[in-house]
Amino acid sequence: MAGEGFYRAMLRRQLALSLRRPVQLFNALLFFALVIVLFPLGLGPSPETLGEFAPGILWIVALLANMLGVETLFRSDFEDGSVDQLLLAPQPLYFSVMPYLLTQWLLAGVLLALVSPLFGLMLGLPVGAMGALAASLLLGSGVMSVLGAIGAALTVGLRRGGMLIALLVTPFYMPVLIFGSGAVQAAVTGVDSSPYLALLAAMLCLAVALGPLAIAAALRISVDS
């Protein structure tokens, strides 16, 4: 499909592949809930500690969910030849990867950001910090999706990429984790969290502008190897 039509089609394709049935959305939510429950079980149920760690816990869960999702971002499309077709398509690859990123961000980022206040409540996060929590997750997961996709594109041609991608990507995730949980922490202690959020927003802009270049280059290399 020419022009915009193609990107819309690719987006619908990606969404259909991840959410063939509405129940899958629900499963994604449940996944967050389950991983979050692990933390009280591991760290202990005391409301004070949980409340204190809630920003970090929520952010680590977001990070892990992102890493899990991103690993398989291009894998099946690579293995069945869809990436070949994408590369041969007349549309620039820079834009063609956007639907992948968007879907990944919607599922591992936006969804979690939307329900994060509920989990925040369960972990005893002060109500005043919910806004900062959702905003930081929304922005930060976008950055992580782009960075993770670079790692995924680089390792998709390798047969045992599972661990490797984590290795490549985690160091880049760390600043996001620091600023993100920092934003929530700031809101908890009553400090203004907007500098953190501004930083995350700047990182997001940078990632979205430059990331697809790297992803496109990495995919071309992977297909050729």
Binding site: L30, L34, P40, L41, P45, S46, P47, L121, M122, G124
Partner: protein
């Protein structure tokens, strides 16, 4: 044969009891019989359950004195406690049905198992929500990581796991067999989960919030509560049977007796 288990046909010493049970099992395995008999049971059980619920609720809500500590907020107990109790029992009903369907390959058992899951999940959810609502005035927060609450949350996950697994399979015959395996693994695991969560809580929390003293309930509150629990069990049975009847009709829609049923109505 992939799951070793006793089989009625091969039993070496056929006693009268075993024979009688076998015929009963055999009848249970017959969809038309089950459909008819469940229809008859539902006809009186549903009104009875509703009546018991209304009586229990009115009794509890209108004719008992307010609690001296919690005022009127405790009255949610008449929903919360029965829902929690029945939700727990429901998992066992589901798991036992799963075991039967896997070991004796009884079609009706897996229908029962699948019918129990959503009902149980709904009750668990009700217990969680009413508990949260109750928690706000009582503890001042919507949620605490109490042992009982945590295990209730895990129970919800177990129910949802069975439902999600069933949903995920295209082939529904395979789906119900997979769910039966999962439910069976669950039966072994549930006591372990419960014990461990209790242990976890007592390890970390030297009893600062306490709501486990069942003995503090006054008899005037207890009797309506018991009635409500019985009513919830009966409602569970009704929902289970209604659910099963729908599934039976769906699965047997190509058979003669369903066609005849449709023609009659």
């Amino acid at each position: 044969m992939y799951f070793p288990g006793p089989s009625f046909e091969r039993s070496e010493t056929p006693s009268i009891i075993a024979a009688a049970m076998w015929t009963f099992f055999h009848k249970l395995g017959s969809p038309p019989w089950l459909y008819t008999i469940s229809g008859q049971i539902l006809r009186w059980l549903l009104p009875a359950a509703l009546l018991a619920l209304v009586v229990g609720m009115c009794w509890g809500l209108l004719f008992t004195a307010p609690d001296f500590r919690q005022g009127n907020s405790y009255r949610i107990i008449y929903i919360h406690v029965p829902a929690a109790v029945v939700a727990l029992g429901g998992y066992y009903i589901m798991a036992i049905a799963g075991a039967i369907s896997l070991i004796w390959k009884m079609k009706m058992a897996d229908i029962a198992m699948l019918a129990a899951a959503p009902v149980g999940a709904a009750l668990t959810f009700i217990a969680l929500v009413t508990g949260s609502i109750w928690g706000k005035p009582t503890w001042g927060t919507w949620w605490v990581w109490d042992a009982r609450i945590t295990s209730m949350l895990i129970l919800l996950f177990l129910y949802l796991g069975v439902m999600a697994l069933y949903e995920a399979y295209d082939n529904k015959v395979a789906a119900s067999r997979a769910c039966a395996v999962l439910a069976l693994v669950g039966t072994v695991n549930i006591p372990i989960i419960y014990k461990s969560v209790d242990w976890w809580y007592s390890l970390h929390q030297p009893a600062s919030i306490k709501f486990t003293g069942g003995s503090t309930i006054d008899p005037s509150m207890l009797y309506p509560l018991l009635l409500c629990i019985v009513a919830f069990y009966a409602l569970f049975a009704c929902a289970l049977m209604a659910n099963m009847r729908v599934t039976i009709l769906d699965r047997e829609r190509r058979t003669g007796w369903v066609r005849r049923l449709v023609e009659e109505s």
